[in-house]
């Protein structure tokens, strides 16, 4: 028990990233506000980044850092486009509830 508590290893970082990813998944699945869903997607991307950095450190290969940097850039692009879509949807129908965006279904 004290080994788990006081000897922090790679597994701790991986489990932390897994829990972060799970919280992000739960946010995407249960929330209805499009903004919260976007933020949860950002959480999932950050969890993936943490896993990349941990494995990069584990194998002694610096390319994981490059990959994480690229993931951050993609996340920034995704946030910009996603927020633009949220603003456009809000301008048209005055709410951003994803359960009510059913125009394309009919």
């Amino acid at each position: 028990m004290s080994d788990i508590l006081f000897n922090v290893g790679y597994g701790h970082f991986l489990v932390l990233a897994a829990l972060l990813f799970l919280i992000g998944t739960a946010g995407v699945l249960i929330r209805r506000n499009a903004l919260i869903i976007l933020m949860s997607v950002e959480l999932m991307l950050n969890a993936a980044n943490m896993t990349l950095l941990t494995f990069s450190r584990m194998w002694g290969d610096i390319s994981g850092h490059t990959f994480a940097l690229i993931v951050i850039a993609v996340a920034a692009a995704e946030a910009a486009v996603g927020l633009a879509i949220v603003v456009a949807v809000f301008r048209g129908r005055r709410n951003v509830d994803v359960d009510r965006l059913t125009t394309l279904r009919h």
């Binding site: 790679y10 919260i36 933020m39 943490m50």
Partner: protein, 270 residues
Amino acid sequence: MRVLLLILTMLLTLGAVDAFAPSLAIADPIPAQAVNKPTRVNITKRSPHSDKIESKDTGMALLFWGFAAATLGGALFVVTRRNLIAAVMGMVGCFLGISAVYMMLYASFLSVIQMLVYAGAIMVLFVFVVMILNRPEDEPVAPTGRAGQAIGGLAIVYLVGRLIFMLMKVQPPNPLTAVQAPAPIELPGDILNTTEKVDWGSVKAVGWDLFGPGLFVFEAISILLLIAVVGAIAVARPLHEDQNNAGEPRDIPRDEAATNAEAAHSGGHA
């Protein structure tokens, strides 16, 4: 006695020259050896701030638990809060915790980038959109029946268990643990065929990999960011026939306004 002292001094001088030979060889602009035969001279430049702190004590473990708690608490705050500003603030706390965890993984450059890009830029963007929306949420969580909640809860518990049991069994390929200082990596240096040791995760190490093997991906990412910026402006630009913007002055030319009206008429209902 005096002869002995002279010999000792000569030996010490030779030793000092031997010890400083790498730096002397670097100071020499063109070594004669490199001109004649282009073999690799094994000269190693140390970085001036070599990272030698091995932190496997209890304090570092407690710091890890603290930052992990901040990360998970911030993430839970994002998912559970009804107030959007509170969710954004929880997100900032989560990102600061993630940044500290990156620092514990010796990814110093990525840690600073995380703080600048996420906790700075992206969160400002989110706060901006929250202020534009300015509307409380009616019913935050999608309504499901008791059976749906039970199935979802069981699925989440199963997923958590499988992930944790899988990840705890990960065997590192080297016996170092993650909180020990990583070995500096050797980069090929300048034209003198030298190698240079830089810290793990420093700007130089990441930049060498980013602009060396990852150069194409870097260029592709810059094109992607350009497309994203143009697309965001194109999507979020207000349509000028919207009745909410009727009072705004129109300073666009007539033919462009006609094109906009046509686009709004055809695509406004989608």
